[in-house]
Symmetry: D2
Subunit: 315 residues, 4 copies
Amino acid sequence: MTKTAPTHVSKAEFEELFQTVCNWGRWGTDDERGTLNYIRPEHVRRAAALVRAGRSVSMAVPINTVAGPDNAHPALHYMVQAFDVHSDRGEPQFSMDFLASECHGDCHTHIDALCHIGYQGKLYNGKPASAVTSRGPTLQDLTAYAHGLVGRGVLLDIPRLRGVKWLEPGEAVSTAELEAAEQAQGVRLGEGDIFVFRTGQHRRRLELGPWNNGYDGEGKAGLSVDTILWMHERKVAAFFPDGDGETVPSNVEGIAYPIHTLQINAMGMACADSLQFEELVKVCEEEERWEFQVVAAPLRLPGGTGSLFNPIAIF
Amino acid sequence: MTKTAPTHVSKAEFEELFQTVCNWGRWGTDDERGTLNYIRPEHVRRAAALVRAGRSVSMAVPINTVAGPDNAHPALHYMVQAFDVHSDRGEPQFSMDFLASECHGDCHTHIDALCHIGYQGKLYNGKPASAVTSRGPTLQDLTAYAHGLVGRGVLLDIPRLRGVKWLEPGEAVSTAELEAAEQAQGVRLGEGDIFVFRTGQHRRRLELGPWNNGYDGEGKAGLSVDTILWMHERKVAAFFPDGDGETVPSNVEGIAYPIHTLQINAMGMACADSLQFEELVKVCEEEERWEFQVVAAPLRLPGGTGSLFNPIAIF
Amino acid sequence: MTKTAPTHVSKAEFEELFQTVCNWGRWGTDDERGTLNYIRPEHVRRAAALVRAGRSVSMAVPINTVAGPDNAHPALHYMVQAFDVHSDRGEPQFSMDFLASECHGDCHTHIDALCHIGYQGKLYNGKPASAVTSRGPTLQDLTAYAHGLVGRGVLLDIPRLRGVKWLEPGEAVSTAELEAAEQAQGVRLGEGDIFVFRTGQHRRRLELGPWNNGYDGEGKAGLSVDTILWMHERKVAAFFPDGDGETVPSNVEGIAYPIHTLQINAMGMACADSLQFEELVKVCEEEERWEFQVVAAPLRLPGGTGSLFNPIAIF
Amino acid sequence: MTKTAPTHVSKAEFEELFQTVCNWGRWGTDDERGTLNYIRPEHVRRAAALVRAGRSVSMAVPINTVAGPDNAHPALHYMVQAFDVHSDRGEPQFSMDFLASECHGDCHTHIDALCHIGYQGKLYNGKPASAVTSRGPTLQDLTAYAHGLVGRGVLLDIPRLRGVKWLEPGEAVSTAELEAAEQAQGVRLGEGDIFVFRTGQHRRRLELGPWNNGYDGEGKAGLSVDTILWMHERKVAAFFPDGDGETVPSNVEGIAYPIHTLQINAMGMACADSLQFEELVKVCEEEERWEFQVVAAPLRLPGGTGSLFNPIAIF
């Protein structure tokens, strides 16, 4: 079990990983649900059966309107109208607001549609990347997720395993560590599960303030790229990390975000980004379990390549 | 059981209704959860136990970027970047988009925060309406709903009861009809339940096209104002209507939206607006039940007076 | 002098017009100013010499936030903050707002950058249309107009000539009519001039209300396509019409907006859209002249394909 | 002639300045043009007569979409559509974009409407500040500037006088220095003139990068507050500074932006903010004069409290 930076992966090795985990055609040539196909009715039912305490907890970061090193495109939030104290004539008054945001901001909890990533001219399932133009995608948009992601969430809490507050930027998590976390928490990630992966990035932000976690800054902690084989074998349905689950900088030659590329483009995996689990870990510790029902519903945005959302864990 | 327009309610009668259903102080002077307090852990547990078929269905209208008589403020949706076919060098490319919308549009499924309505200088729980300024609210914002609304949803389908496709604009639904619908569907709305109320407005829109459903147009169908007493007695936790559950024009003297005012301002009820149940009713008919788990999570927007969202029913 | 719909122009005739008026290479292979090159210092000086009365008048339509048949994408205008009467402690308070708009709306006075139109894979001057991607243009953006358009404006007022309030949708204006208007007004459009062209579209809107002036509606009045030869011979520097100067529907086979295409793509002409001259015509009549200094400054938006602006006529 | 920080001004002295320069009622009780009333037709004519070289130059900073210490609210600029290479059928294609921005950003050249500042419950001319609510102002909005600001601009270039590249944050410019600059440049600011005031802030930004020029940062250079008396005596019509013409921090007790408050609220002066003169100074040196025609047209935004714009100097 190592905490050090991941070993170097060549472009050829990456292509081999891509071929190994590739799900193109697995669920039909026009499939847009990808690994969500692993979630069958019995998984939904069993996930709901985990609701015993009657508690729910958000896994979203509050929407951030303040520019910062990790928030180059802050959300815009304005009042459309407040109450008008000068013209109050005893009738009800209505306050209203307006929200605007990019849908894939590093600082905002969001889900990616499968059309989010093109690789070598192709989308997931081998569809042509030319389906995504300046007017939006004609396929693999958010529509596939319109009825929400519902299933069992399993949190693997790596800082808990390591006995640290958070992983430092650049650190990578190996398959061995993921399995050690399973053992430590008494849980096993399996077919149709939503993999909730914690590096503690948001706790670090809360305690130390925002930092530039991009390629031109300090980077971030995430998974080692070879864990993709483990996710593939385990038949993971969806991936919910804090940060985006990637180490920055990447250890793959010439590929900045190899895990996203493999997950979304090769596997058709539903991937969310930039969640936070600081409230969740407290509930897990109190309930002494790291599995729960997850219900996560992107906005119903036709042509959306992604959506801010507020995924909920229910115990 | 009448389908005719509601009888006239005077301002004095409205004030009496207000006093009768008023929950101010009921859950403490600083309470911001209002009728969500009716949902106790056992309700959450029992709601989850309704998940037997393993099916989920959205109750949201797809986000609408086309201006129309019921969509004066269309959402804005632009690509931040598409794939650049001219500069493809074999690396992953990322498509990204941008979404902007008012949070209380008639054409967009959304939830209202309790600070959405001020009446006679007060918010819910007697707090001063001056807490909501042009910079946003300092209390009763979306924060109270951050961890989602989770409970049992009960659909009362009035067009089904009446044997019509939809209710016509201006028609009002009485308490007697609500109880007749319960009987016809074999379900009973009770403490801590989410009241899912269907007039068929969205089906009408799908079949006949958008119409001006406001005060300067043809209006819309909704509840008779006296049903508020029934909702109060039944201890309804939340209200999820298609349209906004109100008849337009209102039958209350000088009050344009009396039901919202009573629900939000007097009762502290979590109210959503402008849902659609066209997919839901099919599932209800197939499953032969009109109760289900509901998980509905507004965006986690501090200072929000409302939020677009995608509420999910799970069977 | 005809008021009837224009005679049909074939695709081949259009291509011949294109070749005839084509300015590619005329001002160098990397030129981005196009017909603005016609404006030399003496033109600027002579235009300023027209300022004798000391009056200025806007040629812009007020920004429109109300959706309508000619305003599918209304501008968004919100207060960022108003004065807070509840917290006034005797210090200055600042009101601030926010504006958002598409840059080429039919209902908003704007200028087009030369990169606005691609035709058969090319931009003006033969540059590749691939220079404009989802991330914006890499050339022929608003930068060429950063220091404003300054010159002599000449108004040709066709409703005045015809003795009508406005031209009806679909009507076309011929070269003969343009010359008749010159004669009637005692003015001659010449090298380096800004051609201010009035159909009365905005007056019609003010009196009769908005109408759908697009291809799926009633259309609009504009120039006959062959007037492009006249504009080319006269060495017009810029084109400022109410509406967009085109008849809708077009009389050119397979080309929806032939005049814009010839002006921008073939000639490199600075073209504005959707101005209004209702205030201007009053001043022209009072001053008894139809020539004036024009100063028109787009926003200084790098990468802009167009900009809302407020062009000013000075007498 | 001092470069040191300004001497302290008490609240009482500020109130005395306010009374001394107050123009309330001077041009009628409902006047909204304020000091623009100083510009009479002969001033407009004389300004135009300065156009001899036939050159125009922008005084605007390019719109900035990159967040930074002086750009907390970056503008948003997206393509609505680019050219679609995949569907090119030989017809013209149109590229279009979208722009959104707050109207008073420190990093964006803009003009303030008179309703921008309320002081002790009043707007300019003694109108009630309650006219500005969350829905916008009902008076003193941009409408007063709809037909543009047209007149003589006089640049006073303080770094040139001092022989430095720029003034450092916190430095204040005295009346004596303004008059010394006049003498050095052979120009005199007079009735109806537009006062173009250069501290070199933008040059500093271009060379050293953005800095936090607000109260929580390093501050900025500007005028000493007592120069307001000189502007009043000289009957200045409008104020066009780089930065906002204020020293930050202010030397007035309890008033963060005293000069703006006196200019806008007491005098009714048309004030722009955050211009840049780096191109202008080159032209001034070449033409050996520091006076020129200015034409500056805010967007025609009803209810606007301010507007991005691109003011033009013409020589």
